[in-house]
Amino acid sequence: MDVIACVKLVYDEAQIPVEDGNLLIEQAPVKISDADLNALEEAAQIKEREEGNVTAIVVLTGPFDEAVLNEVLAMNVDRIIIVEGKEVRGHNPYRTAQAISKVIQRENINYDIILCGEGTSDQYSCALPAIVGEMLSIPVITFAGRLEINKGRIRAERYLESGFEVVEAPLPAVASVTPEINEPRIPTVLQIMKAKKKEKTKVKASDLDLNYPDIELIDMKAYMRERLRQRIEGDMNKAIGKIMRVFEEKGVIR
């Protein structure tokens, strides 16, 4: 059972400094997009159960840190394919999905399943897995909170606003997974050291002949809202009194 995991490197959203209403994104450290960790973990578990290889594909849309690539490899990934170049920079899930689909075909990467996170920590468009499925003409299963593989078929519990839906499809297929599907392993220092020696293949985006509809970024601003930030600590009566006054002011006690 060969698995491809699609992985995005992102700026850690929790550590982006804000200055005058602007996000200084490039000053934040780089991390693996949260739900992609779940895709990597699921890929590793499938490999450990069914035998086979895990290939990670990383399209560099901006953020980059070699150490984070090693963290990807340390999650029992066999090799990593990195698509780089100005042609893939910036937010455009269509383009990223096309780069992934084309690199899979060009490098002849074997796969039974392609796994992605449900959405990325920075953009959360949730579009890429579905577009990859379309481009490769294979079944698409999104928002899987549970996966089972049995006799060449995949069964998934899709986690939706309205409850759960169980679907089944033949392999090969692409699935996006939710953060609830598993608890991603934290690689040891030794595993990360070893990972440095694993195969990293670089592919130039300019060789992939990408053509896609454009998305033009006009502006980006911080989306925070200032709050009063009054702290009440160590005085329960004061706390209750304060909250009761707020309730009365807002007219919620009838």
Partner: protein, 296 residues
């Protein structure tokens, strides 16, 4: 501009509101008859999985400038696949839409820390975040009903549960619980407080998705509902950005947390460092006394 709307029946009235400002002609497709003021309503039965909708809509979309869907998880899949099939630009979870030599949209990024403005050409496919819209009801100018046959490689083994009517976006007071709540049974104390205040109960994603103590439609945040109550009372919630973006538009945010350094301290109006298990019973008592006082 001509817009094609595709939506589950419950989100359609809000989607119509979102499209009214930019489209002169509106066609809508859904699977149950619902009274919405559109030029043409098509009720299509028999499509069981997303695959069926993709192949169905893929033809219908051709003559429109814009295809709009609600930003639900199913729609996000269908919309991106349609965009891929037709080679059209796709924007996911748009907060606003404006026509101007193409289409200007805004969307939330970085888990809720940023908002970006994007421009695309038309025709295009958009999923819209509907939490800010009021529903539009009225009679469609024409209605067509039909049933389709669909064969797909993907089969639905168990159908999804039905959505209930709760609409957290309308709630004036919301009591929200996070992992500071230790067991499901403790929700009874939260319910008691909620009924005293006429409040709705919401939660963080781990409470609905991991623990399944509350239904999914009650989770607030980037992947859940965006609420705008007068009061948002956050009990045992750390305040990670993915959750916090969901209560950004609340008037007043009160947080109760045992950890004096919890991130929610920075994004609440009143931050109370207390154990919720001591705080909630005392608050219930105080409200009861106040009411008694008032009725005397």
């Amino acid at each position: 501009m001509r817009a094609l709307l595709f939506s589950d029946p419950s989100n359609l009235p809000k989607l119509v509101s979102a499209s009214k400002d930019i489209a002169e002609e509106i066609h809508a497709i859904t699977w149950e008859k619902i009274a919405v003021p559109v030029d043409r309503l098509e009720v299509i039965k028999g499509a069981l999985v997303n695959d069926c909708w993709v192949s169905q809509l893929h033809e219908e979309i051709k003559t429109f400038d814009l295809m709009l869907m609600p930003a639900t998880r199913d729609s996000k899949e269908i919309a991106s696949r349609l965009a891929a099939k037709r080679g059209l630009p796709y924007i996911s979870g748009a907060l606003s839409l404006k026509a101007s030599d193409g289409l200007l949209t805004t969307r939330v990024v970085f888990g809720g820390r940023g908002i970006e403005e994007l421009k695309i050409s038309m025709p295009a496919v958009i999923t819209v975040n509907l939490d800010v819209y009021e529903p539009s009801f009225g009679e469609p100018k024409s209605v067509e009903e039909r049933k389709i046959e669909c064969s797909s490689k993907i089969s639905s083994i168990k159908e999804r549960e039905r959505k209930t009517d709760v609409d957290l976006t309308k709630a004036q007071v919301i009591i929200s619980v996070g992992r500071g709540l230790k067991k499901k049974e403790d929700l009874s104390m939260i319910k008691e407080l909620a009924s005293l205040l006429g409040a709705e109960i919401s939660c963080t994603r781990p409470i609905s998705a991991d623990l399944k103590w509350l239904p999914e439609e009650r989770h607030v945040g980037m992947t859940g509902v965006k609420v705008k109550p007068k009061i948002y009372l956050a009990l045992g919630i750390s305040g990670q950005i993915q959750h916090a973006v969901g209560f950004r538009d609340a008037d007043t945010v009160i947080a109760v947390n045992t950890d004096p350094d919890a991130p929610i301290s920075e994004i609440s109006d009143y931050f109370i460092v207390e154990n919720l298990y001591e705080f909630v019973p005392k608050l219930i008592k105080a409200i009861r006394e106040k009411r008694k006082e008032k009725s005397n």
